[in-house]
């Protein structure tokens, strides 16, 4: 677009203004403000007392903080690989030519539109002992002897399983769609050529489909790690962070510290740890994306 410099500057500013005002006020300014808060004993009614680096030293010795970060990490370690495998399998199913193709696509994505609260409460009731859907189903098909119950929500290992299953069910739809559209972008000629050479289904999958999906797999992996690390509500509703705070993720600890224990300054300090962790992850993601772009 040709126009003189000053006019271009003014017009660009006008177009950018609404975004920049909101962005400045509610993203940049809180970021700066947060740094200030970490140096205070800062309560909900804004009673402030300057305490220097105390919040930081306290945090580094606070076992609860490290435990909570570890719990979020466990959740990342469980959900990321299972999410990728499940998303690929579902995409393979919906990519096969059949009369039910459209049905599969709708069904696998459907849970993703549910509100996180609905998905969590559905999970909570489904995994309940005695009356829940899962145990009843296991009784019905004989996998669980009648009279015995699995306590999905109060036994530590089982509660990780329940939390992960619900999360996968609720969020896999997005990744499934990404894989499906990537699969549909693979040119048919490649498959035809492979068939002519007599390649088996399995061979085609490992040698053609999977390598072709590599870039989107990298993207999904990073996005999933970031998303899983920010987990909060499912765990808050389904196990409440229990048993004995053993599933409590870091975001829940930040919430509890700030709003239940009335210590916003300390909560802000913790959130900068989250910030640094997510910043590193996002930087890796951005760097990978750019490298991908540079090659293309």
């Amino acid at each position: 677009m040709r126009m003189n410099k000053l006019r271009a500057d003014v017009q660009a500013l006008l177009f950018l203004l609404p975004f920049l005002v909101i962005y400045g006020l509610y993203t940049i300014w809180p970021m700066i403000k947060g740094v200030e808060m970490t140096f205070y004993k800062w309560t909900l009614i804004r009673k402030m007392k300057y305490i220097g680096w105390d919040n930081y030293t306290k945090m580094f010795h606070d076992q609860e903080v490290w435990a909570a970060i570890w719990h979020s990490t466990i959740f990342v370690l469980i959900t990321t690989p299972t999410m990728i495998v499940l998303a690929i399998v579902l995409a393979l199913i919906a990519n096969r030519k059949s009369r039910l193709q459209k049905f599969y696509r709708s069904v696998f994505f459907l849970p993703s539109v549910l509100s996180v609260a609905v998905a969590s409460y559905l999970g909570l009731f489904i995994f309940q002992p005695y009356m829940g859907f899962v145990n009843s189903l296991l009784h019905l098909i004989g996998l669980l002897p009648s009279g015995t119950e699995l306590f999905w929500l109060t036994e530590l290992n089982l509660s990780w399983v329940a939390l992960s299953v619900i999360t996968l069910w609720w969020t896999v739809g997005f990744n499934f769609i990404l894989y499906l559209s990537a699969m549909q972008d693979i040119p048919d000629e490649i498959y035809e050529a492979a068939r002519l050479d007599g390649a088996s289904d399995r061979h085609v999958f490992w040698k053609i489909t999977l390598p072709y999906l590599n870039p989107i797999t990298k993207t999904i992996t990073m996005l999933q790690i970031i998303a899983s690390f920010k987990v909060f509500l499912q765990i808050y509703i389904i196990t409440g962070g229990g048993p004995l705070d053993k599933t409590r993720p870091i975001i829940q600890l930040i919430y509890t510290t700030g709003f239940r224990k009335n210590d916003l300054g300390y909560a802000a300090t913790m959130s900068y740890v989250v910030f640094v962790i997510l910043l590193v992850l996002s930087a890796i993601q951005y760097w990978m994306n750019n490298r991908k772009g540079a090659q293309a």
Binding site: M31, F125, F133, F232
Partner: protein
């Protein structure tokens, strides 16, 4: 082998729909009955009495209304602001364009969860807590939307723009008459994703609103649920009523939603 694939596919579909079907079936059972095995759930008697109770006796419909109101406002404003910013970054040759683009990109790295505590303090200082404005305004700046839309605007040929300029059209007309209509699919996809995001947004409403008349669905549901402990019928009615509007929207807009998701993945 073909049968093996079919069985796996059907099983997978079953596991994805089963919880939703279970929710619907339980929601139309009679309250307080002895319901233990799976067979009990799927045999009559059924009744809609609890639906009536929940719709009339709670604020659930209010909260659904709030969720829609907030999601619609957030969607319209986010996409408008992002389109304007993306247009400036893409087509107006101003000084500091590279710097400004970098500032927006940096926003991608800032996780909302990490600034939520100071954001609460900022909103409090501006008296935005417990208000619709407070639910809407702080979430309107979306760097992702700006960057996705900018990349779509980059694809609009400059010849088209120059032809409008020759006719004496200004920047605003170029934006309204050329850029927006030509990138409508991208705008629609962005709008749908923003809508779903807002519909599911929990943490910010949860912290910023304490007045239950202003609750959105994700925060209203837990307050209702905590008072139902004896059986599953009421909770499942709450879940069903909360889900039906968004499920209907999904069935209507499925194609656009799927397209939106795949676009965001390619760009993300």
């Amino acid at each position: 082998m073909k049968w093996f694939y079919r069985i796996i596919s059907i099983l997978a579909a079953f596991f994805f729909v089963a919880p939703i079907v279970w929710m619907l079936v339980v929601s139309i059972k009679e309250e307080g009955m002895k319901i233990i095995t799976l067979v009990d759930w799927f045999t009559p008697p059924y009744s809609f009495a609890v639906y009536h109770q929940i719709l009339m006796g709670t604020k659930l419909t209010n909260w659904i209304g709030n969720s829609f109101l907030v999601a619609i406002c957030v969607t319209l404003l986010t996409v408008t602001f992002a389109a304007m910013a993306g247009f400036a970054l893409s087509k107006i040759p101003f000084r500091y364009r590279a710097l400004m683009f970098f500032v927006v990109l940096a926003g991608l790295l800032i996780p909302g969860e990490a600034i939520i505590i100071p954001l609460y303090q900022v909103a409090k200082d501006q008296s935005l807590l417990n208000s619709y404005q407070g639910l809407i305004i702080p979430v309107l700046a979306s760097p992702v939307a700006v960057i996705v839309l900018k990349s779509f605007f980059d694809g609009v040929p400059n010849d088209l723009i120059e032809s409008v300029q020759i006719d004496g059209g200004g920047t605003w007309r170029i934006f309204m008459n050329i850029m927006l209509p030509l990138t409508r699919p991208a705008l629609a996809s962005m709008a749908i994703l923003t809508f779903i995001g807002s519909w599911n947004n929990f943490l910010w409403p949860f912290l910023s609103v304490t007045d239950d008349n202003l609750f959105t669905l994700p925060m209203g549901i837990p307050t209702l649920m905590s008072s139902y402990s004896e059986d599953y019928v009421k909770p499942m009615v709450v879940n069903t009523i909360s889900s039906l509007p968004i499920i209907l929207l999904f069935l209507i807009f499925e194609r656009q939603i799927v397209k939106g998701v795949s676009l965001s993945g390619i760009k993300g």
